[in-house]
């Protein structure tokens, strides 16, 4: 029950950023609801998968593959290209904090001279950024790589 409540909270507070960024990308009005649903499903699914002990990269892959497949259905139903809602849906999972920590770590490395701790944090954050990003966009691309190889989705 406690897990369920925390997942609901998670879903609600990741639907908001999905809509917020969809507004920046000027997604048409009637697609905003889909972005919200996508964001909520993706992030709460990732939280659930991570809760069962899977690392964040693989959990991101699971979530983005799910959104990629749901995206195929939506895209064929509403006749719009998939990135219109899939990208906004995975935005809450983009490793922004990791990315900024990496670069600021590099600045610190230059400022204060080499130290093993800072270097370790730069590498860890940088690799996390890279792998999570790869997982997210590879997951979204999966349906068109595996299923729709020679024909367009819409």
């Amino acid at each position: 029950m406690e897990l369920f409540l925390s997942l609901v909270d998670d879903a609600f507070f990741s639907a908001i950023p999905a809509i917020g960024f969809a507004l920046i990308f000027n997604v048409p009005k009637r697609m905003l609801v889909l972005c919200a649903c996508g964001g909520a499903i993706a992030h709460s699914l990732r939280t659930l998968v991570m809760h069962s002990g899977v690392s964040i990269e693989w959990a991101s892959l699971v979530a983005s593959v799910t959104i990629g497949l749901i995206g195929v259905y939506w895209s064929r139903r509403y006749l719009v290209p998939r990135p219109v809602f899939t990208v906004a849906s995975v935005i809450p999972m983009i490793p922004g904090t990791f990315a900024f920590k990496t670069i600021i770590g590099v600045f610190t490395l230059h400022d204060g001279g080499y130290s093993a701790e800072v270097m370790a944090s730069v590498l860890e954050n940088g690799l996390a950024t890279l792998f999570i990003l790869m997982a997210l966009s590879f997951g979204l691309a999966l349906p068109s790589i595996l299923i729709y190889r020679f024909r367009p989705i819409v």
Binding site: I24, F25, N26, P81, V84, F100, I103, T108, L133
Partner: protein, 263 residues
């Protein structure tokens, strides 16, 4: 893909069709569609309007289209300027191409409809409010309490206003991201200074998340995966520079206030 019934196309008509194809591709690329979508959608339009084949070369800031009809080639190039991500335009262009493919639109109608697409934008204050709320939600997801939520909302809403103002004046996006991150970090460092909320440093971490170039990064990797390595590298490079710009702004603000916060 259905092959349209054969028809006779004059030299002038072929030129017109190739122009439409290049315009379609250009609008898609300007407004942030991934390379495969650009290539696929615009070549479908050419085939639907009766060309025998359409060849498209995409570079980071130009598009080259060759339309072939009965051994006659017409090639044209357009410079592509980034107009900012606009999924509304991408949807509209896609709809026109789908209608043309069903033979519901002819060349003139396609031209007319393409010219009528205007880049729809949301009300700027709505965007400011929702982006503020988005970053505040991130702070909640990271485990902040309601004070942190409110502070993050204020910092990122102000940052978004700055970002819109600079973008409106056509400043370089990297510079824009640096200034915006600087403002966001400056405001949110107040939370750390006055020790507001349960984890004040979360305000500093969450309020700059409006600057993560998510769309270019995802487009970059998906271009790579689908074989468009050169456009993918261009997008990746641009996204990295945007991150670097934002991080410089953050580092500058941290050095100025002396509040290290989250790094």
């Amino acid at each position: 893909m259905s092959t349209p019934s054969p028809r006779i196309i004059s030299n002038e008509q072929q030129t017109d069709i190739v122009r439409l194809v290049v315009q379609t591709g250009m609008r898609l690329q300007q407004h942030g569609a991934e390379s495969k979508l650009v290539e696929q959608t615009s070549s479908r339009l050419g085939l639907a309007l009766g060309l025998d084949s359409v060849e498209i070369a995409l570079t980071a800031n130009a598009i080259i289209v060759t339309g072939l009809y009965q051994g006659r080639c017409i090639t044209t190039t357009r410079r592509v300027f980034d107009r900012g991500i606009n999924m509304h335009v991408v949807c509209e262009v896609q709809r026109i191409v789908l209608l043309a493919e069903k033979q519901l639109l002819d060349c003139d109608l396609v031209k007319d409809r393409l010219e009528r697409i205007s880049a729809f934008k949301y009300n700027r204050w709505l965007v400011v409010f929702m982006v503020g709320l988005s970053c505040a939600s991130f702070s909640h997801l990271f485990g902040g309490d309601w004070t942190v939520f409110a502070m993050t909302f204020i910092a990122s809403a102000f940052a978004m206003i700055v970002r819109q103002e600079l973008a409106h004046r056509h400043h370089n996006p990297i510079f824009n991201f640096g200034v915006t991150a600087f403002v966001a970090t400056l405001i949110s460092s107040l939370a750390v200074r006055f020790n507001l909320g349960n984890q004040p440093e979360l305000v500093m971490a969450a309020s700059v998340l409006l600057l993560v170039p998510g769309f270019p990064l995802i487009n970059a990797v998906s271009d790579f995966v689908k074989g468009h390595v050169n456009t993918g590298m261009a997008r990746w490079g641009m996204a990295t520079l945007l991150c670097l710009g934002a991080a410089s702004g953050i580092a500058l603000a941290m050095a100025l206030t002396g509040v290290r916060g989250w790094v």
